[in-house]
Amino acid sequence: MQQAAEAPPPQGIAQVVATGMGRVLVSIFVPVVAFVVLWAGFLFLKDSGAPKLVIVVVAIVWGIGGVAMLYVVANWLTEKLPPVWYSRILPFVFVGPAIAILAFYLLVPAVLTGWGSLFDATGEEFVGLDNYVYSFSNPDMVTAIRNNVLWLVFGTLFSTGMGLAIAVLVDRSRLDRVAKTLIFLPMAISFVGASVVWRFVYSFQPEGQPQIGLLNAILGSFGVGPVSWLTSEPLNTVLLIVILIWGQTGFAMVIISAALKGVPDEMLEAGRIDGATEWQVFRRLIVPTIWPTIVTVATTIAILTLKIYDIVIAMTNGNFNTQVIATLMWKQAFTFFDAGRGSALAVILLVAVTPVIWYNLRQFRGRAI
């Protein structure tokens, strides 16, 4: 502080010019070096034939060190600016990289996909809304939309409903900790892994052979012949939805259970003293109090069902009329290389989640940012 107050020592013109030049040079030199280092890391990671372990270590160093360096250099440069400009530019040093990445990976691609959906398979000829007409008239696609509606309705309803029921039940049971952990656990498992678990449950052997799938074995013990579950339409889609419910009920349960802890006991006691039955307490007092949480959970699961992809691919690969929009989108885009139709299907998915985006934004308007 004191040094700054002192008058600068007298300098010759040549010296002033030299330090000025020096500063400018350093200001250019440092970012250039930083950029070169980052770029060299990028090229190494892109093309290197080095062992995986080496590449991963370099990637971690590059990911943390390189990114940190980027911010340090940007901040250092900003500090060289006059104070007014410093405070103007600094926020963009903080948020700029995130904005740029989001723009590159989501915003710009969304626009490009929207534009691309108006072109033919190769992306050269403008075809107007043809891809959308195809999407809503092709029988496969109509089935996919029907299936997605099944996923949306049953998946959301049962995951949320059972999550709520279990959350209420478990809190009154002695087994609460074990039950919560075990029901929540499928959240950690990939949909692909979960699909293998359930393929085995649904496994089918021709009549007369031992049934090794749990479901057919149970049927068999009641004297009912084996059912080829995954090829019977539309039952098969419902059975795939069961896998989602198995995975997501735990999520719903944990969130709703936390909300239940926030329901004031006095309110429930007051209800009981007034003569309400347990069901009335649940229906009239508990549910309305935690309704916002239930809505949040349901929307989260609803989005998941609209984009569902892994379960269908791993269970049936979309055969036997189990296809959904996301699996058809991938097939059109990356198996048949029809960028136009693939893009149109992606846009349809985006439109399907728009109500949720709108809802999220409306929730947000109330908050100060």
Partner: protein
């Protein structure tokens, strides 16, 4: 009094039934993965203990890991994909969260709202253009391509989660740091980052589970080359080509589950905190 006791018994029994329903499918997978192929097809896994047709074996694991399916290689690939894909976006998101929470600049509101909107955008919307960009610079099929894609797709959620945390830190703390002469950069590095560790941890767990369990991004940007494919891809190709080889499928599925399940059980507390901080991902 006895009515209450009966309802308590009923509740405990129902919960017990739920536990059984939720656990039995996985238990079947686990037991089957240790049975011999012949035994698997001759009798249900539930008879494995009462009517042992064959002894338990570790052969299935050896075959699936080091045989033609090469799951050991896929396991390493999954690790190689996951760790950097978790690490890279964290700092970027933390800086952005601090900027949105504590710095004032024109366009802040609209930029933040755009980010909230991007939270639930299905990433299918981005696949084709990003793939085209990758092909143009010959990036496709590399781990780098997948790391950056996961970083990009996870960034909105990361920033949002961290914003929720960082914006709730006491205002006095940041102001007193400024009075002491600390720049925003120093405040962020010395004060905010260490204080935000719980939030960083919960995002890291999210992103870890998300990337480890992902199939869509890997299939799109890694392609089907066996040398680089991750475990979800390997499992899906097994369900296609050898859907009846239960001894291999069950062992393979179990290998793919073990790491996320351990992470999940070990760090469940942070995971739940992250969930409760409001997280929906597109």
């Amino acid at each position: 009094m006895s009515k209450i006791r009966w309802s308590r018994v009923a509740i405990n029994l129902t919960v017990l039934a739920l536990i059984v329903i939720w656990t039995v499918p996985t238990l079947g997978l686990f037991i089957t993965s240790f049975r011999e192929k012949q035994a698997i097809f001759n009798s249900g896994w539930w008879t494995a203990f009462t009517d042992p047709q064959g002894a338990f074996t570790l052969d299935n694991y050896e075959k699936v890991l080091f045989g033609g399916d090469g799951l050991a290689n896929a396991f390493l690939n999954t690790l190689a994909v996951t760790i950097p894909a978790v690490v890279i976006p964290i700092l970027i998101a933390a800086f952005a969260a601090y900027g949105f929470a504590w710095l004032k600049f024109p366009g802040r509101r609209i930029l933040f709202i755009t980010m909230v909107a991007l939270l639930v955008v299905p990433l299918q919307i981005a696949l084709i253009p990003v793939l085209k960009a990758y092909l143009a610079i010959d990036l496709n099929g590399t781990f780098l391509a997948v790391w950056l894609a996961h970083a990009g797709f996870g960034l909105a959620l990361a920033t949002y989660l961290l914003y929720n945390y960082i914006s709730q830190l006491p205002k006095d703390l940041i102001e007193s740091a400024a009075l002491d002469g600390a720049s925003h950069f120093t405040t962020f590095r010395k004060l905010i980052l260490p204080l935000s560790m719980p939030a960083l941890a919960s995002f890291a767990i999210f992103q870890f589970l998300w990337v480890w369990n992902d199939l869509l991004v890997a299939s799109t940007f890694l392609g089907s080359d066996k040398e680089v494919q991750v475990m979800t891809q390997a499992l899906v190709s097994m369900t296609g080509s050898r859907g009846q080889d239960w001894q291999l499928l069950t062992a393979g599925a179990f290998v793919s589950m073990i790491v996320p399940v351990l992470v999940f059980l070990g760090l469940q507390r942070y995971f739940v905190k992250g969930l409760l901080a409001g997280s929906v991902k597109g």
